[in-house]
């Protein structure tokens, strides 16, 4: 805990702290105007902004396929999807801003590499079937993670998640449809689908984060009613959901240990490669460098456009102010002129 945090928390009145604790214990919503512990604010800012960054970086692997989508309908759907992700990024940055950190600062954290984003987006989208696998598995995992977040204790985050989840479930459905078409198409298409599922299955399961025993932040987050279920609980829920869906697709999941456990009433699944997960988080993923490069380039190359928009806005404001000043000056002049005319009139009268 930083010195600043301690000071801020200490400055809070007992009544404020009690109010916060009351909101959490009642499972009510904390709103931006409410007092909150600095650690709660920091933790949420990190989580919400990382989520926003993931939406933004996550646009890239799919945007790669917009120009190559194999039918006009799929191209339109894909464009709409990637555009939705930009929209999700915007809602989430707005939610994060209500916690006191401006979007420009959050963006800087992303560009400098200080802030993280979901590791899954550091894997390449090599084939068209990856658009299906990303929609079905990656958006599917995101939904499992995010539906409980609709009830997150922080109001703006929870409300943003409600809207995002609606769109994500649409995306997951579209991904599933892409894979369905492929798995029911030619042999080459089916292979393409299976290959994509093979590559995305493991990383998708890792989207829920490390196993519970290795997830130190989860406990506090659950106490604050931000997180509702543990990483492993959510991962299990996801596995249970996708197994029958894979069967419906006629595709297999690349896990020899995957089998129904009658006793648990869940599917057992095999060990995931957590060394790989950690190495991707630390920057060794296949596409970490290119994802960051593209984001930094877009930002740098757009600088002159943002500067122009800012300069134009200032110009407009200046012109509006000048127009207002001129209008009042004209009023003053008009009054003066009237006075002079009247005076002259008087003189004329006198002269007369």
């Amino acid at each position: 805990m930083t010195e600043q945090t301690t000071t801020a928390d200490q400055a809070a009145t007992t009544a404020e702290q009690q109010h916060f604790e009351h909101l959490i214990s009642e499972d009510s919503r904390v709103e931006p105007r409410d007092w909150m512990p600095e650690a709660y604010r920091k933790s949420l800012t990190r989580q919400v902004s990382q989520h926003a960054h993931s939406e933004i970086i996550g646009m890239q692997p799919e945007a790669n396929w917009i120009t190559r989508a194999p039918s006009l309908k799929r191209k339109a759907v894909l464009m709409a999807k990637v555009q939705d992700e930009a929209g999700h990024g915007l809602y989430l940055y707005s939610a994060a801003e209500t916690l006191g950190t401006p979007r420009s600062v959050l963006n800087e954290q992303l560009l400098s590499g200080k802030a993280k984003y979901s590791s899954i987006f550091n894997y390449p989208a090599r084939t068209w079937a990856d658009m299906g696998a990303i929609g079905w598995l990656v958006d599917g995992a995101a939904i499992c993670n995010q539906v409980p977040l609709c009830r997150a204790s922080y109001g703006p985050y929870g409300r943003a998640m409600v809207r995002i989840c609606k769109e994500e479930s649409f995306h997951q459905r579209q991904g599933w449809e892409i894979l369905y078409e492929l798995s029911h198409g030619t042999e080459a298409q089916k292979q393409m689908a299976q290959d994509a599922v093979n590559r995305f299955y493991g990383p998708a399961l890792q989207m829920f984060g490390p196993p519970d025993a290795d997830s130190p932040n989860s406990q506090q987050s659950m106490q604050w009613n931000i997180k509702r279920f543990s990483n492993d609980e959510l991962r299990q829920r996801f596995v249970d959901m996708i197994v029958p869906q894979a069967e419906a697709l006629g595709l297999t999941l690349p896990d020899p240990d995957l089998k129904w456990n009658e006793e648990r009433g869940h599917y057992d699944y095999g060990q995931l490669d957590w060394d790989e997960f950690m190495s991707v988080i630390k920057g060794s993923g296949p596409c970490n460098v290119q994802r960051m490069k593209r984001r930094r380039e877009a930002h740098a190359q757009g600088a002159w456009v943002r500067e122009a928009a800012e300069a134009y806005a200032q110009r407009q404001a200046r012109e509006a102010a000048e127009a207002a000043a001129a209008a009042s000056a004209t009023d003053a002049e008009a009054t003066e002129e009237f006075t002079v005319v009247a005076g002259r009139g008087s003189a004329e009268l006198i002269g007369a």
């Binding site: 945007a63 080459a188 943002r306 300069a311």
Partner: protein, 278 residues
Amino acid sequence: MSAFASHDSATKQSAGVAITAEEIAETGGRAPEAVAQYALRLGDDALMLSQRLGWWISRAPELEEDIALGNIALDLIGHARFLLTYAGSAWGKTEDELAYFRNEEEFRSVRLVEQENGDFGQTIARQLLFSFYQYELYSALQSSTDQTLAAIADKALKEVEYHQDHAAQWILRLGLGTEESKRRIQDGLYYMWPYLDELFADEPLHDELEGIAVRPSTLRERTLERVTALLAEAELEVPNVAQARLSAAPRDGAYSEYRGYILAEMQWLARQHPGATW
């Protein structure tokens, strides 16, 4: 209800209810050859520009622009789908057969929409010229005696109004923003300006389609008047630059270098799997 319900001729249909490409396809009506050729021109323009603009998504100067340019690209691909579906009805071809399995010389897009995105200024310059032209085009096409074209124009016009507004707002911001933005948008305008003539070039096809098609030359004055007025407001000059020479038949691609690259990228996957559905 079908847009083709009451008449056999595609040029004399009941009030158009053509809202989606699927609906146009389901009507089962056939566009006459010349109408199809005309629809192909409008559809190819929309498709090529959508293909170009789609590239910006995830690369725009700010998130709001990823969304805005994405929106425009989406609208355009929607228009392309209606128009290619309608054109294809004449030849028993689907929108995808036309988009993915025609060769360079079979496309009928203008060179303006094929030009490279360049920087944001160059893209906005292209947006300005094309959206202002398209606004006039669809305004006039609403009165086409071909009900399907009229219905498509009616739907598209509402969207093109937004494209036009987006372009105009940026022309003002870039023209009156900073020295750099002024230089860049002015460069973009110089780069795109030589391809204006082709937008307004009449073809024998238009004689054949009196009352159905909009004669391109009739759009020139009004489009340029409005573009010029906006440039004056943005303190930008009207480029004093020669027009790029038209080939013997406008839109035939004979003088277009970019078309092949666009199609190579767009069609590659579909052509690798002929006959596949996606």
